[in-house]
Amino acid sequence: MKYALSTLAGAVALTASLVVAPALAENAGIIVYNAQHESLAKEWAKGFTKETGIKVTLRNGGDSDFSNQIVAEGAASPADVFLTENSPAMALVEAAGLFAPVDADTLAQVPQEYQPSSGKWVGVAARSTVFAYNKDKLKEDQLPKSLLDLADPSWKGRWAASPSGADFQAIVSALLELKGEAATADWLKAMKENSTAYKGNSTVMKAVNAGEIDGGVIYHYYYFGDQAKTGENSKSVGLHYFKNQDPGAFVSISGGGVLASSKHPKEAQAFLKWVTGKGGQEVLKTGTSYEYAVGKGEESNPKLVPLTDLQAPKVDPVKLNSKKVIDLMTQAGLL
């Protein structure tokens, strides 16, 4: 038994040195709280490290938990950079005063409309709200004209979303900003009645494709990502863009920001500059994420409906209020 114990101790020590040592060594680089798609952030980190030699450690999670976590951590946050999929999470951290201003030459790489008026963070990519519908179950004239139409009793049991996800909560925050609190609360109440809740936008699309449900409110790129792979989960899916500055035509800006508490501010700023620059935006065009590129003069994947054709409503991302949205959704019984 003595040998068994010492062997065990040896094994632990060995594993410890294998696992912990590299983790400690990586402290030399920057820590990114990444709420973006893991694969996309990994590509960004890889490209950045290759060009600059600065190491990047990703901690993966979701928009909302990270933004609240950073606020709770305050000045002691281990994070250097925060990347999200949607703007409300960035607005939350910004409101807590935890972002350092983004370097001017980084801001200059992105048009005004894809960054907050405050310049405390910057858009790194964008995504469009769509109504994904089953082409066998719905004809084009049966599609909702506006996101608000889905509150109508005739839609009861016929549409789906992923209310626990930050993606959907961002859409609600746009609705809140555009139509006000009372209208949003009513719409959410109707949503609780009418809709089916799934976990994750991919799962919503899968259910739409399988004909379990007529349609669902998701972002555009799930469809394109699946089409590029096997198309197995999107064969019968059509995409409906609401356009006309409807709340349902909301384009959500994925953000990136450097924390004021960062211990490696120079490296963190460099990372953000790289992501919004040629290298980072190129990944969006050629990679598998199918999100929109937002850099000046950068093109998105040609398969996508161009960003400028979407007729998105104008919303200053600073004004998107995630806390209020969570409260309203909790009151409506969706969370």
């Binding site: 038994m1 594993t15 410890a16 450690t57 990703l58 901690r59 909302s64 606020v71 969370l335």
Partner: protein, 524 residues
């Protein structure tokens, strides 16, 4: 040995004094561990007070909580009886009838434990994509957790004294009545214990129910956590979940009762006779066969299908290797910590039992029965608000694991310390070893097999733990379960498959050990 010391040294013998002193040190250590274990519970009470009654009431008494309560109660109330009936039927056929191949069936009835519950669910959802709701929840829950009932029931059936059944038959009862009035009551302890375990797992399970879109308190707490990090809503849902756990524990105590069934007097029980099934053999074979097909066939076919569909691309060895290394490290380190923490309590529960000790011990069991998500939520908030240097460190995650899995280590340690003769400890003391050295040289070494078994059980729990790891782990951590979850969340079922396979392969030896241990406890 003790009397010899008395002869040579009048008054209070030094060795006894020493050992009493060491006993009090150990008691102190045990008390400390138990108090620390109460931290999450104290935290929930503290949050409720901090939040203020108005908000607490508004957060608890709302329709959504009612929905979750109905869902959670229905799930437990329907799944547990189904699992009991299935387990009793299987165990009886395998242990008490001449069912062909019963050794094999006995194996196959325990093997589903080697498959993490969320992998079961993943297998089902990719086979029947529309699966959702309560009935799906019951189906997959029973499939994933019935071995927790099967193991103790089969062990109890093996130990039964056939004389009682013979007596009942001689008094004119038919076979069914003998079963209902003699056999079933003797299984009550096994059924109660197993049901409690299944019930607590159902309350704590996350991944399984997310796949099939069935909301329970645990899934809702995670949703809230992901929306607000550590908002009062999540903590109040956790408080209700804790209340549910207490209700289950209380129900078990009431149902279990005080009655004992045992032989009175000397002599050994006669060998049991296996019942001949005759013409019923074929239909009876269907039960274990169908069970094996649903519990093992479905996961293996689906995982296999995704592995084939994914080809060589999904074996990203750098990524898999890193996840495997981290998982192994967390599992081994967590198991060591839990075992060391359990040692003082295990020792005094055998060597110096007392009402205080029983109270302390029950603290550990209660905390161990709380869902990981509750413990994780408490530790996140405590570390971020009060002990920031510990926040998101290796220490905190291992600490969380130790709290969650301490009872597993405790149970195994107790059993093996009970078998180590106390005389050896005394002899070592009387030969001049200082108390702790004496303990190390005797009891601790003798209890090593039990410690190893307990460690394996803890490691198994850690390997398959998902929510607590996600909430507590240091930056850059990526365990097998996390990787599996992240791929399957993006419906990349193929990329998730290798992780499922590796987790099953890692769990197999520990499941084997559980199986062997249950056989040994039954005396075979």
């Amino acid at each position: 040995m003790a009397s010899a010391i008395h002869l040579t040294r009048p008054g209070l013998p030094a060795a006894a004094r020493q050992s009493r002193r060491s006993a009090s040190w150990i008691t102190l250590a045990a008390a400390l561990v138990s108090l620390i274990a109460l931290l999450p519970l104290a935290f929930i009470v503290w949050t409720a007070i901090q939040t203020g009654w108005g908000t607490v009431l508004a957060l608890i008494f709302r329709p959504r909580v009612g929905e979750l309560l109905v869902n959670t109660i229905l799930l437990v109330v329907v799944s547990v009886p189904v699992a009991i009936v299935l387990s009793v039927a299987l165990a009886w056929l395998i242990e008490r009838s001449d069912l062909p191949g019963n050794r094999l069936w006995s194996w196959l009835s325990v093997a589903p434990l080697a498959i993490p519950a969320f992998v079961h669910s993943y297998a089902w959802i990719s086979l029947v994509p529309g699966l959702h709701g309560l009935w799906a929840g019951v189906l997959v829950s029973v499939i994933a957790y019935f071995p927790f009932l099967y193991l103790p029931i089969a062990a109890a059936l093996r130990r039964l004294d056939p004389a009682l059944e013979d007596a009942a038959a001689a008094l004119g009862l038919g076979p069914w009545r003998v079963f209902a009035r003699v056999v079933l009551p003797q299984l009550r302890l096994a059924i109660c214990g197993g049901s409690l375990l299944v019930g607590l797992h159902l309350l704590a399970e996350y991944g399984l129910f997310v796949f099939i879109r069935f909301d329970t308190f645990t899934t809702a707490i995670v949703d809230q956590f992901q929306s607000t990090f550590n908002g009062p809503a999540a903590n109040m849902l956790a408080a209700v979940l804790v209340a549910c756990c207490f209700v289950l524990l209380a129900v078990e105590v009431v149902v279990r009762g005080e009655e004992r069934y045992a032989r009175v007097g000397s002599g050994a029980a006669r060998q049991q006779q296996r019942v001949r099934l005759g013409h019923a053999t074929l239909p009876c074979l269907l039960l274990p066969a169908i069970t094996a097909l649903l519990t093992l066939g479905v996961p293996f076919v689906t995982v296999g299908r995704w592995l084939l569909a994914g080809g060589a691309d999904i074996w990203r060895w750098d990524e898999i290797g890193l996840a495997l290394g981290q998982t192994l490290f967390l599992a081994i380190a967590g198991a060591l910590l839990a075992t060391v923490a359990a040692m003082p309590m295990a020792w005094i529960s055998i060597r110096a039992p007392s009402p205080l000790q029983r109270l302390l011990e029950s603290c550990n069991y209660i905390v161990g029965s709380l869902p990981g998500v509750v413990i994780a939520l408490a530790l996140v908030t405590i570390t971020v608000r009060i002990a920031l240097p510990l926040y998101q460190t290796l220490f905190t995650i291992l600490f969380g694991y130790a709290l969650m899995f301490l009872p597993r280590a405790l149970v195994s340690l107790r059993a093996s310390i009970a078998q180590a003769p106390v005389e050896l400890e005394r002899a070592a003391s009387s030969l001049g070893r200082p108390p702790l050295r004496a303990l190390w040289a005797t009891t601790i070494r003798l209890s090593a097999p039990g410690a190893a078994a307990g460690m394996a059980m803890v490691a198994l729990g850690i390997t398959n733990e998902l929510t607590a790891t996600q909430m507590l782990a240091p930056n850059g951590t990526r365990t097998l379960a996390m990787a599996f979850w992240s791929y399957s969340g993006e419906i990349d079922y193929a990329s998730a498959a290798p992780y499922a396979l590796i987790m099953v392969a890692m769990s197999l030896p520990m499941t084997l050990m559980l199986y062997v241990q249950s056989k040994r406890m039954a005396g075979r």
